[in-house]
């Protein structure tokens, strides 16, 4: 500030400080006004300005000697009446917009004290416009008019101020610098109490505003190119261009500067210009104009020409024209310093260029655009929508005016529906922060009041699920010409394939594809797709456990959408609704997928997931999309009666883990909870029976249903950190998925029931409830406990007992994995587990260090003396209520 004040006297600084203090107080007091207050004042000042439109125009002409009285009066009327028409119904105080369906409200906040620079070319209209903007938005303004337009601006400000204060605006709401200087401007631009600089003026003022480090609105210089193509309405175009370019003697910076005309209509257009009062310069005259109205040293227009009549300019440079000549038209052959008339000319001199093709025309327009007019305004006259589109794409202009006058068109509200303004934002091309027609919203800070939204939830399951003994017979109701029966060799040997084959409608052409009994690799899937194509299948029946059904899901995907890129589809995501990679929707083939499950664990027959083995990277890749869900699920216990004991245990624990993780998931809902709780209850009751008495039909049937029901829950609520750990560990050490889950399960319950180090951000979670949900499970299982803590501990103990009964090893160490080997694997395990999408729905966000600790807990294992328990317990009060 001291630096800026160096050239100012103490008296001048005191004067400027007084203006700032006055404005700051007015702005502060103004914040108390209501919308009704503001609208009343705005109407009053608009009427005051409108009434004095001609008077102010005369003052401007007398002082500046620029422009045309009648046009300046019209500008003043546009600046009041048209601007009022735009702002009258706009809410600018308090709540200005509401989006109830999105929980969003926008609240207007005044900016405070604005320092506003106004130009010589449109002095009073700009003042009137800015006064209306300021009152409508409850801001105070210190005006810094162009020194050569100071008196008319001061009078315009006085008229607006008196009307404003009379109708309730605070005193000091508008002030005007007395005898403004550049030093004053610089001082105010850097003043801490000036909140915004609104600089409508020459490039120097605008640059100073942006250099001040303050928020600023500034316009940029223009050099409006016009493309007049052969399809245009030539009569209209010529009248519009003359109207615009001669309006106020061309002082509006959006006015036309060079018209690029298609060769086919060039002569006709020039003839029309001449008929309507334009003087078409010959080569010598053009050269003369170029030497005189453009400063040969700077390449900019000569100030003496700005806003002068065509006849006066002609007389001044010694050019002979008819007495009523409106416009001087100068043909040019190119754009750039060697063609002086290709720059901005704020007077009635218009350049024209003959273009031999659309491409040439666009090139020249771009050259003009880049020669000092970036971001400002461009005009096109054409009936060809494609040309208009092309022009709009290649020209960098905040306003592209179509089939109408540039200057009046850019002002908005007259020839088009743009916002009326006297300040044109020129975007970054013009060194501005906006391309908008500056309006009331640029004079406001808009606050967004964002209410917590409730995330959209869903419960998506296959259309049809058939369950209980002999449910497979329902296959008869699905007609098919060619069915591919995907299975594995073991099931074929057991005769289960024949059971399915017999259940299909008799006319069905069935081909059996037996794939290895292991999690599918890409190669297996691609071979399956080839077989589907050869067989021209319209139905896939997947008979098997998770591996077979997952393989069939991916085969279906690739068969229906051969362009699908598995690598891309496996891309990680945080929220399935916002994922980057979308699954294909267009289908080349269409095929029905019926899943007949032969294990009671994965629930793959109803899930939207499929797991592939990525052998190269030594990990599992999870595909997830509801388009992967089978169309029909058959949950028939006859297919699991011969399941080996180990498989029964592993898959059963997988089922239990699904249900427990879905139950505490951040995506859990009453819909998924009911399924999760039921599945947990069934698994605890029937899994040990099925394990110990494999031929017990009821237990097998219940576990088969439990697996499917748990899958309905986790298909919609997802799983959690237990699965992330198990995926990483299982892939690295070749341990079956269910068994890997089992090794982690008690430790993960304890982990989730502890006070989280980090919560998982989710609008669905209104409170941390994982521990309480585990207690609910304990209650459901009748485990007892007089507090949430005791119930959780009882659940952990019951889980450990179940695992013991199923003869699951108690620790990773019990699998024969040495500590050293495990330690070596740990960095990879932790990284892979952290990359696994499964934990994204876990109630507690795991830190990498916590994943490591969980792995080590599982390594040490469960059981007597191991003390798997909640580490950091919630307070007694938290624990007391379920």
């Amino acid at each position: 500030m001291k630096e800026q004040a160096a050239s100012l006297s103490d008296e001048r600084i005191a004067y400027l400080e007084g203006l700032v203090r006055q404005g700051r107080t007015a702005a502060a007091v103004f914040t108390q006004c209501t919308q009704q207050d503001v609208d009343r004042i705005v109407k009053a000042i608009v009427l005051a300005g409108l009434e004095q439109a001609q008077y102010l125009a005369r003052l401007a002409i007398e002082e500046t000697r620029l422009g045309v009285l009648e046009d300046k009066a019209i500008k003043n009327m546009v600046a009041t009446e048209f601007v009022y028409d735009y702002v009258r119904d706009k809410r600018t105080v308090g709540v200005i917009r509401e989006f109830p369906e999105r929980g969003l409200v926008e609240v207007a906040e005044p900016i405070g004290l604005i320092f506003s620079i106004t130009p010589i070319t449109n002095p009073t209209a700009t003042v009137l416009f800015k006064c209306i903007m300021a009152i409508k938005t409850r801001n105070a303004v210190i005006f810094g008019p162009h020194p050569k337009a100071w008196r008319c601006c001061q009078e315009a400000i006085r008229i607006m101020y008196e009307a404003a204060v009379k109708h309730g605006a605070p005193e000091g709401v508008f002030t005007c610098l007395d005898s403004p200087t550049i030093d004053d401007n610089v001082y105010l631009m850097h003043h801490k109490d000036i909140r915004l600089i609104d600089a409508t003026g020459g490039p120097g003022a605008v640059k100073a505003a942006y250099s001040s480090g303050k928020p600023a609105l500034g316009v940029g210089p223009g050099n409006t190119p016009v493309y007049l193509d052969k399809t245009a309405d030539l009569d209209m175009a010529v009248v519009d261009i003359i109207t615009s370019k001669t309006f106020d003697n061309g002082t509006i910076c959006a006015s036309e500067q060079t018209v690029v005309i298609d060769d086919e209509v060039y002569d006709a257009v020039l003839k029309k210009f001449a008929e309507l009062g334009a003087h078409i310069c010959n080569e010598k005259e053009t050269a003369l104009l170029g030497r005189t109205v453009i400063n040969p040293e700077t390449g900019f227009m000569q100030p003496m020409a700005i806003g002068q009549k065509a006849t006066d300019i002609a007389r001044f440079i010694g050019l002979s024209v008819k007495p009523h000549t409106k416009l001087l038209i100068a043909p040019i052959q190119g754009v750039g310093p060697e063609h002086p008339l290709s720059v901005e000319k704020l007077f009635p001199v218009l350049s024209v260029y003959r273009a031999r093709s659309v491409d040439e025309a666009l090139r020249v327009c771009m050259d003009l655009n880049h020669l000092g007019g970036l971001g400002h305004t461009a005009v096109i006259f054409s009936r060809n929508d494609e040309t208009i589109r092309q022009f709009s794409e290649v020209i960098d202009a905040g306003r592209i005016i179509v089939n109408s006058p540039g200057s009046i068109g850019a002002l908005g509200g007259v020839y088009n529906d743009m916002v009326p303004t006297f300040s044109f934002g020129c975007g970054t091309g013009g060194g501005n922060s906006t391309t908008d027609n500056v309006n009331v919203y640029h004079y406001l800070n808009i606050k967004r009041v964002a209410r917590r939204t409730q995330a959209h939830m869903w419960f998506r399951v296959p259309n049809q699920i058939y369950f209980n003994m002999n449910a497979v017979e329902n296959l008869r109701q699905f007609p098919s010409r060619a069915t591919m029966l995907v299975t594995n060799p073991a099931l074929e040997r057991l005769g289960l394939v024949d059971v399915v084959r017999r259940s299909l409608p008799p006319q069905t052409l069935v081909r059996v594809l037996a794939i290895p009994d292991a999690e599918p690799e890409v190669k297996v899937v691609l071979e399956g797709v080839e077989a589907l194509n050869l067989h021209r299948a319209d139905q896939i029946v997947a008979l098997g456990g998770g591996s077979v059904i997952d393989a069939a899901k991916i085969m279906k995907l690739m068969y229906e959408s051969p362009e699908a890129d598995l690598e891309e589809l496996a891309a990680p995501f945080l929220d399935i609704r916002k994922r980057v990679v979308q699954y294909p929707t267009g289908r080349t083939n269409q095929v029905r997928l019926i899943a007949v499950s032969t294990t009671s664990g994965t629930g793959s027959e109803v899930t939207p997931f499929a797991v592939l083995i990525d052998k190269q990277r030594g990990r599992k890749v999870t595909l997830a999309d509801y388009s992967l869900s089978p169309d029909v699920a058959i949950v028939d216990p006859q297919f699991v009666m011969s399941m080996p004991k180990g498989l029964t245990a592993d898959t059963g624990i997988d089922c239990l883990t699904h249900a427990l993780e879905a139950g505490v998931s951040i995506h859990s809902s009453p819909y998924t909870d009911s399924n999760a709780m039921q599945a947990i209850r069934m698994a605890f009751k029937y899994l040990p029976i099925a394990y110990e008495n494999p031929r017990n039909v009821e237990a097998r049937s219940m576990m088969h249903n439990a697996a499917c029901i748990a899958a309905l829950a986790f298909s919609n609520a997802s799983v959690g950190v237990n699965h992330a750990l198990a995926h990483a560990f299982g892939a690295r050490f070749g341990v079956a998925h269910g068994r890997a889950n089992a090794l982690m399960l008690p430790h993960v319950i304890a982990f989730n029931a502890s006070v989280p180090t980090k919560f998982m951000p989710s609008p669905n979670q209104r409170a941390y409830v994982a521990h309480k949900k585990y207690a609910m499970v304990a209650d459901l299982l009748g485990l007892g406990g007089d507090s949430v803590a005791a119930k959780v501990q009882n659940l952990i103990a019951a889980t450990e007992q179940l695992l013991d009964r199923l003869e699951v090893p108690r620790s990773i160490a019990d699998l024969g994995i040495s500590k050293e080997e495990f330690e070596r694997a740990m960095p990879d395990l932790a990284k892979i587990a952290f990359d696994d999408p499964s934990w994204r729905s876990n109630p507690r966000m795991p830190l990498v260090s916590e994943l490591v600790e969980l792995f080590w807990s599982a390594y040490r294992g469960r059981g007597p003396g191991k003390g798997v328990s909640v580490s950091e317990q919630f307070t007694a009060m938290e624990w007391s209520c379920v």
């Binding site: 700051r24 107080t25 702005a27 502060a28 007091v29 914040t31 108390q32 000091g172």
Partner: protein, 91 residues
């Protein structure tokens, strides 16, 4: 010198007058001035100027000026003109 407090009820129509009265009381040696704004819905630039004067005077004489019943709109004005920190606002 005795210390005492004075209570001034601010009339919404005569805010500046009440503030001038506070200045007078201060000049008479009051150690604390309480201005009750509870019936004042808004203030104008004149009131702000009077409050600036009052705050300056109070600071020079170590007098505490307490503003009671100031609504949020007026408090916001005082914050914007950086006067809020010069007064006390009882809970």
């Amino acid at each position: 010198m005795t210390t005492s407090a004075v209570w001034i009820q601010v009339d919404p129509e005569h805010v500046v007058h009440a503030l001038q009265e506070a200045v007078e009381k201060m000049n008479h040696g009051e150690a604390e001035v309480v201005l009750d704004f509870s019936s004042v819905p808004r203030i104008d630039p004149g009131a702000v100027a009077a409050m600036e004067e009052l705050a300056g005077l109070a600071a020079g004489r170590s007098v505490q000026v307490v503003l009671r019943g100031v609504n949020a709109d007026i408090y916001r004005v005082l914050k914007l003109v950086k006067l809020a920190q010069k007064f006390s606002f009882p809970a």
